[in-house]
Symmetry: C2
Subunit: 289 residues, 2 copies
């Protein structure tokens, strides 16, 4: 059964039992990036049965998506480490199949009526680690790691226009990224650090005190870690444990601000150490070497 | 200028300088929930000028959205604490205006051609704290706190069908939520904890050892906190600080698992302590009391 819009999936060559990879002549990055169907229609001489099996599984997935009357589904790109929603576009069958094979978030441009891979001009690709369908199968998450800012404006994400802020007269004309709790706290700590650098600009705050007093900061981190342990050792209630962990996190993040480290870097380390994709990443690096 | 689809925004009564609230006769929660236009077209006797000003600002926002040919924009609901994408729907002008006034994530159902507020039947509302537009102004994030599972299946989010997992023969028939790094680690630790409860089921792992040895776990937490402090005290490089913070987080999360505490609870505490919306929440609780 020939499925024309899936022709390029036939180009996929499987280099390891569990990993779809690109044929060598298909390069991403810099001006080498191209999406010529000639380079995509690629007859693999290896693993022919496996290719066919994979192709049929990809088709099963694509058949399962509930495409709208224009053959599209909503596709949301999300940062796997921070959870930030990077951008939202639309995907058709080819865009999803392309994302599966390239592991670069690919969309269908409704205005230009073409496929486009985020990063093909800016080099800021979104490296997709998993793709999720929702319960209705008409909405897709590309969960991945961006190479750089996602928005064409240079912003980390495309969502930097807060509506309620505007309505509530905050008169804050600056862009404000859609930050979830951890990154909102990180941003607050970063602001306090900036205030410290301009004498007499900031209001006195505990965060400012911590940031300007290394001894105090370190003694607080040790104290909070100790109090967290006590919740276990002395069988304190679970809310107390949550509260002590919040203290550990906050004080630890103040130290990170002092060292110029972002939480995203910490989470990337955790992902590489613990997650399935991290373990795979390692294996792939080894097999590529 | 009369804008028919904005008629219900006229019902909004402002109870504090920076906060839109519902008129008293409009109840959310349980079977009291109803959306009768009769209760919405509500002439406020107070703050008439402020109402008009707010109404005009809401209109400005709604005029700014790039609605598609059906008058819709994509609306994504995201958990403000965990960053989890809860669900995605579509919103029209009325849905966004309703969300602004009720602070409950409200969508437009394309199949039923009606507004619907997530939670109106299940009571699992999504309490919106901020609304973001993207750079193209045709995509919206409702950033908020869900009262319970968002998906109609009872799943925490609607995204539990992993595509690459399926393609890569992992044969894992279980649902797997779209988890970002921190929650993926939390889930791994929880699995190890479950394995401990079934003798001889688990493979030996460091996480299992930590979870079964309270003394070891606490000594590791204190040790890692100490090593994090040393990166500042001994001027070690920033990557070392990131790595030590990762250790603190991981070991702290192992303790949370022992205590049955979720990271989401820790983040909620941080939000209430530090974020703007947390400060407002407190203020509102006081003004309501």
């Amino acid at each position: 059964m020939a499925i024309p819009h899936l022709h390029f999936v036939q180009s996929v060559r499987v280099s390891s039992p569990c990993r779809i990879s690109f044929p060598n002549q298909y390069h991403y990055g810099g001006s080498n990036f191209s999406r010529k169907s000639s380079s995509l229609v690629y007859a693999s001489t290896h693993n022919f049965d496996r290719d066919l099996h994979l192709q049929s599984k990809v088709e099963t997935v694509l058949d399962n998506v509930k495409w709208d009357d224009k053959g599209l589904a909503v596709a949301i790109a999300q940062n796997v480490d921070t959870g930030a929603i990077l951008m939202q576009g639309f995907a058709n069958r080819e865009a999803v199949a392309m994302t599966v094979s390239s592991r670069k978030a690919t969309f269908y441009s409704r205005s230009r009526s073409t496929l486009w891979t985020k990063g093909e001009t800016s080099n800021n690709f979104i490296n997709v680690q998993e793709i999720f369908l929702d319960c209705d199968r008409d909405s897709i998450i590309y969960l991945g790691k961006p190479d750089g800012p996602t928005c064409h404006t240079g912003s980390e994400t495309c969502y930097y226009t807060p509506v309620l802020d505007f309505l509530e007269h905050r008169q804050d004309e600056e862009h404000k990224l859609a930050l979830t709790t951890l990154y909102s706290l990180e941003s607050t700590i970063a602001k306090r650090k900036e205030e410290l650098e301009v004498p007499e600009s900031g209001k006195p705050s505990w965060t400012c005190r911590l940031l300007s007093d290394e001894k105090l900061l370190c003694s607080k981190i040790r104290e909070e870690a100790d109090e967290l342990c006590q919740t276990l050792e002395e069988n304190e209630d679970r809310l107390r444990a949550a509260s002590e962990m919040a203290d550990v996190l906050y004080h630890g993040m103040a130290l990170l601000a002092r060292k110029g480290v972002k939480m995203e870097e910490v989470l990337e380390i955790l992902r590489r150490r613990f997650s399935q994709s991290g373990i795979e990443e390692k294996r792939n690096r080894k097999s590529q070497a």
